[in-house]
Structure formats: C-alpha cells, structure tokens
Amino acid sequence: MLNINKHSSNDTKIQIETKDLSLYYGQDKVIKNISFNIYERMVTALIGPSGCGKSSYLRCLNRMNDFIQEARTEGEITINGSNIYDKATDVIELRRKIGMVFQKPNPFPMSIYENVAYAPRLFGVKDREKLDEIVKSSLEGAALWDEVYGKLKTPGTGLSGGQQQRLCIARAIATEPDILLMDEPTSALDPLSTLRIEELIRELKKKFTVVIVTHNMQQAARISDYTAFFLLGDLVEYNVTNKMFTSPDDRRTEDYITGRFG
C-alpha cells in the first residue's frame, strides 16, 4: 500500500482528501478504492494510459459525474473539512469553489466580457464597476488581458485556440475558486500556446490548488509538484514529481514514464 502521508511536510496543507474512493459506471468499476491527499497551492498531475480513469476522477472532484446517469461513487472526498458526497452538500456551492477547464476550449458564444462575467453574475454581482474589475483581474490572472482589453465586446469564439483556452481559465477563476481542475488543457493546442498555458499554471498555483490531467510526461515533470499515476482505475503511485520522474517506487510507473507501455 501507499503511504499517503509520506510526502506532506509541515507547511503544506491538505486541500483534497480522497478516502477509499470507487466509481462505477453501471457495472464497470473504473476507479478502484483509491486514497491520497492533494495539497493546497500545489500542482498535482494525474498521468496514466488512456481509459485508466483520470478524467473520471477529476469529475468526481466537482461532482460532474452527477450528470452521467449510471455513475455511482463509494468512499469519500473531503474538501475544506466536509465530505462532498454527503447528502447535505450544496453542489452549486461546491462547483463555485472549484473551477474546471476542459480538454477542448469551450467558450460560450458570447462576448469575451460576458464569458468571464458569467459566473459572477450568476452569484449575484450586478454592480458594473465590480464586474469590470472582476473581468479585468480574471483576464490578467489568465495572462490574456494584454491581448484582449481592446476588444472585450467581441465574441470569445473569435479568439485563437490558445486564447480561447486562457479565456476559459479566466472564466473559471472569476469566482475565485480554491481549486482549479484541468483535463488535458493543452492537448488541443500548438506548442507555443501550450508553453504559455504551462507558464500560466505556474503562476496560478500561487493562488489556487491545481489538479491537471496530462498525457505529456514532460509537461507533468515541468509544471507539477506531485504526480499521481493511474492504471486501470488503480492509483499505482503517488509521489513528489521529482522523485517520480527520477526514481519511481513502482516498476510499472517506471515503465510508463519511460514509454515502455501506454
């Protein structure tokens, strides 16, 4: 078994505690009793071959699996001290505290401004000045402000792919969440846009806990502090990224990282 607390030093706080979590799609058990802790203001990378359950796990964290009819979870995920699978959990409130960035950039077909102002408006911000401020700081936070401040009224769908993805990041951080979930956010982007997003993630972790799924080993090594290696629904190894990529504990991790399978 993994020693899940091995790597927590004193100055890192646990942000997400996963305890004996399993996920079923109908009869298929796609996440198998996994337990580990994700630390506050760290970048945690989820890696593993296709179909091993990375996206499914990510969707457990903001309960997006609720939209999949046959999905069913067992076990616990504790965020800010409460189990999000508790009956009393307010899912809307939970998702407000957790931003999500998808694999394919998916800005709303509305203006850049409205994209970012969308969630704050939902949560009752009406004051124009306040909204302007949120939009500006979110776009700055997503390293997009300099490129779009002159055309906030134009459609967000008119931006380049990389800009659209940063717009989606701006949209996700506009409600000042604690956690940012990213599912292969650069897989649809060119190398230059990818680099910009990677730089951005290093910035973002100063304010947010980032959990990122990636198929790109170099990317995981470059940007993450912790790495979790999934295989067929099992969490095979969870380690400090440096350690994981230099001397992994598990043979299968090594095989995967060095490209011997997957």
């Binding site: 997006m64 809307i92 077909p109």
Partner: protein, 299 residues
Amino acid sequence: MIDSRNFSFANSGDKIASMVVHGVSALGLIVMVFILWFLFAEGIPVLKSVTIGDIFRSSDWYPAEEPPALGMFAIISGTLIVTLLSSLIALPVSYLFAIFTAEIAPSWLRNILKPMLELLGFLPSIVLGFLGMVVVAPWMQGSFEILTGLNLLNASIFLGIMILPIVGSLVEEALSSIPEELRYASFALGATKWETISKVVFPAALPGILSASLLGIMRSMGETMVVLMVAGGAAIIPDSIFDPIRPLTSTIAAEMGETPVGSAHYHALFFAGLLLFLITLALNMLSAWIESKGKIAQQ
C-alpha cells in the same frame, strides 16, 4: 495509377451534377419571377377602379356592388391580427415544449414526445378546421355567451395548433444542436439547469429559434383552410377576440371562384394575393438574414 478515362468520367459526372443543381435553382428562380410578374400583372389593374389610398384606408369590402367597394383595411387587419394572436399563443408553447423535450425530459420521454409532435404536424388543416367548427365553436358560443363561436380566438387557437409542430420541432433541433460542452462548462461554473438553459443554451440557439418562429408566423399567415372554416368571415375590424374576422387568404379562396375574370373584384383579389406574397417574401428574407447573422456569430 488512376486511369485517365476514369478521371474524365468522374469529372463529367461532377459537371452534370452541378449543371442539374444550377438548372433546378434557376428554374426555381424563374418560377418565382413568373409568379411575381403574374401577380403584378393581374393585381395592379385594380388601381383603375380604386385608388391605392382607398385600398389601404377603407374597410368597406363590398366587391359585388356597383360600383364595387374594394377597401381592404379590415381584411389586411384580419390577417395581421389573427397571425399575431396565433403566434402569441403558439410560439411560447412551442418554446416550452422544445425546451422540455430537448433539455429536461429523460431520453425515453423525448423519444415519445418528438414523434408525437411530428404526428400532430401531419394533421391536414381541414381536420383542424373541422374540429374548430363542430367542437370548439359551439362550446365557445355556449360558455362565453357570444354571437358566434367562429371568431378570431377560435381561428388563432387552431392556427396555433397548426404551427406548433413546425416551430416546436425546429426549435427543438436548434437547442439540440448546441454542443454538450457548453452545458458542462456552465454547470461546472455552478450554474443550475435553468440558468444554463436560459443564459447559455437558449441564447446560443437564438438565430435558429428566430428563424423557426418566422417560419411559423409565415405559415400561420398563409394558411387558408383553417381561417376559412373557423374565422367567421366578417370583413370587420374586430373589437374583441370573440369577433369574427376575414383574413386575406380566406377572402381570396372564398371569392375567386365567383368573380368574372377581368372584373375589378378579380383584380382586387390578385392584389390581395400580391400583398400576401410580398409580406411572406419580406419575412422570408428576414429569416435568411437572421440565419446568416447567426452563422457569422457562431464562427
């Protein structure tokens, strides 16, 4: 290697196909121009018997008298009012139905509702008119104590029922064509189902919804049988929704057979047809314009 004969054959197939396509669309255009020319040619001569001002301002429609009174104000109003009221009834219902089917209903229910709506669309308008005449009209007359159950409201309800399947199906399609990712993006931001529908999905589908609505409005305006049977047929400007009306379409249908070719009345009916044609053409162009705007916005 590809045989060169084969190549040229494929090429000529392309050419034939493109010629057919161009030919057919050219034919459509020619027919269209011909109809327009015909309507003008048969409609404009009415101006020898009556001024254009009288046509649009006077409500006196006594075409059989000597000299004939050919004021169309009441008839044009009848068309506009019945179209407006039927749209006010049918469009909101269509939207709600489409939203429910596309966004809320579980898939098994959707699979029942969609074909049901389409089935309703196959009802011949004469059947709807018949229902309005023998079921709704007597009931309306009895329960509201009005002069006749054949009136504006009755006609509007049945026109509404007639356009509901068209608008409902098209709006449902417009909503379903909005990519799932947009809904997930909204949910992940903490939006409720209703917020997602009203603030993301519906606005994104708006161009499609508007052109579906215009199509329904045009259909309602052009429908003849239902209004002929249940609108009551009085060429007056209605004071209430229980007054009978006489729209352009039913006027043409009812009177065309009884009027001598070449008479002022005959030309007046063609003029009415011309008006209808021009209004529908305008709506059609508006709908095409909205759709093209929508396409640009999506890119």
